[in-house]
């Protein structure tokens, strides 16, 4: 794994698994997106499975959504929430919608960028090159902070077995020499989770 920080790029020479293939297939249909949350840890080797892959896209109008919907269906994906594109577009304004291929698991959780921390992930995304294929993922600093934030409330003892804390630790241990600590601490402060830093070991 080679991380070129100056150009926000990571090169992975891994063997592509079925989940990676699924994600690469879906993302190749999109012009702009960023992958966030659990899959980012898994892409970088975390040894766990997942049901869904979280993906953020910039705001989209109904006409462009219809075109994308057709492209998605033409490529063998289907929407778990509804087979109706208009209804799906209505849902997308408020919630995430899910796309699967054949079976319902795994699926892509497709969400529009609405909050600033989504926007941050999108604007600072990292290009990951895997065997000449490309994926765009959220910056590592944001991923670690977000996973610390996402963990359920509880005492330290309970938090240590939380999968989100384990994901955060995986990324932290893998990238700690390359993190932009200044940026990382700013995100931690904004999220109000300074207390949780002690869970990173």
């Amino acid at each position: 794994m080679k991380y070129f920080k100056e150009r926000n790029e990571i090169i992975l020479d891994k063997e592509i698994n079925e989940l990676d293939k699924f994600v690469i297939d879906f993302c190749s249909l999109l012009d702009n997106y960023v992958l966030v949350s659990g899959y980012v840890s898994i892409l970088f080797g975390r040894s766990r499975a997942t049901e869904d892959v979280d993906l953020l896209v910039p705001e989209i109008n109904e006409e462009d959504f219809e075109k994308l919907w057709k492209k998605i269906y033409d490529n063998g994906f289907w929407c778990i929430n509804t087979p109706d594109s208009k209804e799906a577009f209505g849902m997308l304004k408020e919630f995430a919608i899910r796309f699967a291929k054949e079976k319902a698991v795994p699926n892509m959780e497709f969400k529009m960028i609405k909050k600033d921390f989504d926007r941050y992930s999108f604007e600072n995304k990292i290009k990951v090159i895997i065997n000449s294929k490309e994926l765009f993922v959220s910056p590592i600093e944001m991923q670690i902070a977000f996973k610390l934030f996402l963990a359920a409330d509880g005492i330290e003892e309970e938090l240590r077995v939380d999968k989100d804390i384990e994901d955060a630790n995986h990324l932290y241990n893998l990238f700690k020499d390359k993190l932009n600590n200044n940026e990382f601490l700013k995100i931690i402060n904004k999220m109000g989770i300074n207390e949780r830093l002690k869970l990173l070991k």
Binding site: K14, E18, G45, P106, E166, H170
Partner: protein
């Protein structure tokens, strides 16, 4: 043995929980270090056994 005959030492259980959490995190650290010190091909081959078993074609 029936549930009513079972003796549970809650102090011992709590210690088990603490150790379990610590061991899980130790493995996360061990695995992250493994990834850093081995080729992508090597670690991904092992990871893929787990991932691919979930998504059987």
């Amino acid at each position: 043995m029936k549930a009513e005959d079972m003796k549970i030492d809650l102090k011992e259980m709590k210690e088990f929980k603490r150790k379990n959490a610590e061991e899980r995190l130790d493995f996360v650290r061990y695995w992250a270090n493994y990834i850093k010190t081995h080729s992508d091909k090597e670690w991904s081959k092992q990871q893929n056994v787990l991932i691919n078993s979930q998504i059987k074609k």
